[in-house]
C-alpha cells in the first residue's frame, strides 16, 4: 500500500478542486436564496443531506465512502415480501 503522505501529495490538487466545486455550488444556492428564491420542502431535504454528507467527511474512520452511500440510500426493510404480498 502506498504511504499516506504519497496519496495526499498526489491527490491534493484534485481534492482541492472538488471541494471548490462543492463550495461554489453551495454559494450559488445561497445567492439564489438571498435573492428571494426559497427551496421547496422536498429540496430542503436534499440540501440537509449535503450538510450531513459534509459532516461524514469531517468524521474519523476509513469507511467514509460507504457511510456516504448509506446516507444517500433508501432503507432496506426485511419484511418487504410481506409488504408487497409476494
Amino acid at each position: 500500500m502506498r504511504a499516506a503522505s504519497q496519496i495526499l501529495t498526489e491527490s491534493f490538487l484534485e481534492v482541492r478542486a472538488k471541494l471548490l466545486e462543492v463550495a461554489a455550488t453551495l454559494d450559488r444556492i445561497d445567492r439564489s436564496l438571498d435573492a428571494g428564491s426559497p427551496l421547496p420542502n422536498q429540496d430542503q431535504v436534499q440540501r440537509e443531506q449535503i450538510d450531513s454528507a459534509i459532516e461524514i467527511l469531517l468524521s474519523e474512520g476509513s469507511d467514509r465512502a460507504e457511510r456516504l452511500q448509506q446516507l444517500f440510500s433508501r432503507q432496506y426493510e426485511s419484511d418487504w415480501r410481506k409488504q408487497m404480498d409476494l
Partner: protein
C-alpha cells in the same frame, strides 16, 4: 494487458469502438440484454434483439479478434409490463442453444417494485429449469442498497441457486461486502456519475482483494466509457499494485466465472 469486459452493450456502440477496444487489449466481452432506451412493445421486438446479440454482434466483434458472449432476458425497466415479460421469458429458450449464450441476464430490479420482483423470480425459474448461469443488475443511486438486499434475499431463499454461478453487477462501497460474503461473484461498473470510478474500484480491490471480483464498463448508449477497464488497469499500475492482482480481476476471474457455462468456448490469445 489482455482483458475481458464482462458487461458491455455493444449494440449501442460503433464499429470504431470495437477497433479501439481491441487495440487496448480487450480479447473478449459479454453483453447482457438490457433496456434499449425505450419500452419495446412486442415479443418479436425482443426476438430481433436476441438475434442481434447471438448472431450479428459476434460477427462484428470477430472482425477485431474479440470473442463476443451474451446473456438473455427482459430487463427490469420493462418488467412493469408483466404480460409482455412472460411472453419474452417463454421465448428465450429458442436462443439458449446459440453458441455464445452464457446464461440469463441482466435480470434484477430497477425501482424495487412488486412487478419487477415477480418477473425477476420468473427469470430465476427459467435459469434453474435450463441450468443457466445468472447475471444480476442492481438498481442505481438511492434504490441500490434496498434493491440489492431484496435481490440477495430472493436468491438466497432459493436453495436451488448456487451463488458461485451468479454474478451480481454494479456493486459499490455499501453493497460489495454483502454480495461477496454470501458467496456470489461481484462486478464493479466503471460508469460516470451514477456508478463507480476507476479510482474507487481500485480502492475496493485493495480493500477486498481480487477474489470473485470483476470490473466492467457497461458501455452503452448513455454517457459511458467503453474503455473504462483499461483506465482501471492504468490506475492500479499507477498506485504500484502488482499486475497479477489486476490481471486476476480483469481477465482470470471472468474466465473462471464464465467457464461454468458450457458455451464459454473462449480461446486465449497466443502470446510468444
Amino acid at each position: 494487458m489482455d482483458y475481458i469486459d464482462p458487461h458491455i452493450h455493444m449494440v449501442s456502440r460503433t464499429t470504431d469502438d470495437y477497433a479501439t477496444l481491441a487495440r487496448m487489449g480487450c480479447v473478449a466481452m459479454s453483453e447482457p440484454a438490457f433496456w434499449a432506451g425505450f419500452d419495446r412493445r412486442t415479443v418479436d421486438g425482443f426476438r430481433d434483439y436476441f438475434h442481434q446479440l447471438t448472431d450479428v454482434e459476434p460477427k462484428r466483434a470477430a472482425q477485431f479478434g474479440i470473442q463476443h458472449f451474451t446473456w438473455l432476458c427482459i430487463n427490469a425497466k420493462e418488467a412493469e409490463n408483466v404480460s409482455l415479460s412472460r411472453e419474452v421469458i417463454a421465448m428465450i429458450p429458442e436462443f439458449l442453444d446459440c453458441p455464445n449464450v452464457l446464461g440469463i441476464g441482466e435480470i434484477g430490479l430497477n425501482k424495487n417494485t412488486k412487478n419487477e420482483a415477480t418477473v425477476f423470480l420468473e427469470h430465476l425459474e427459467l435459469a434453474i429449469k435450463y441450468d443457466q448461469q445468472i447475471l444480476i443488475h442492481t438498481p442505481h443511486l438511492a434504490d441500490k442498497y434496498q434493491g440489492t438486499r431484496m435481490i440477495l434475499d430472493m436468491l438466497c431463499d432459493d436453495s436451488r441457486i448456487d451463488p458461485s454461478r451468479v454474478l451480481v453487477d454494479h456493486v459499490e462501497e455499501h453493497t460489495i461486502a454483502e454480495v461477496l460474503d454470501r458467496g456470489f461473484w461481484a462486478g464493479m461498473t466503471l460508469y460516470p456519475v451514477t456508478k463507480c470510478t476507476p479510482d474507487r474500484a481500485a480502492d475496493m480491490i485493495e480493500k477486498y482483494g481480487g477474489e470473485r471480483l470483476l470490473a466492467n464498463s457497461a458501455g452503452d448508449w448513455g454517457p459511458s466509457k467503453p474503455t473504462a477497464v483499461p483506465d482501471l488497469i492504468f490506475e492500479m499500475r499507477r498506485r504500484g499494485n502488482d499486475d497479477s492482482l489486476t490481471r486476476k480481476v480483469v481477465y482470470e476471474n471472468p474466465v473462471e466465472f464464465f467457464s461454468q457455462s458450457q458455451d464459454f468456448n473462449f480461446v486465449p490469445r497466443e502470446i510468444d
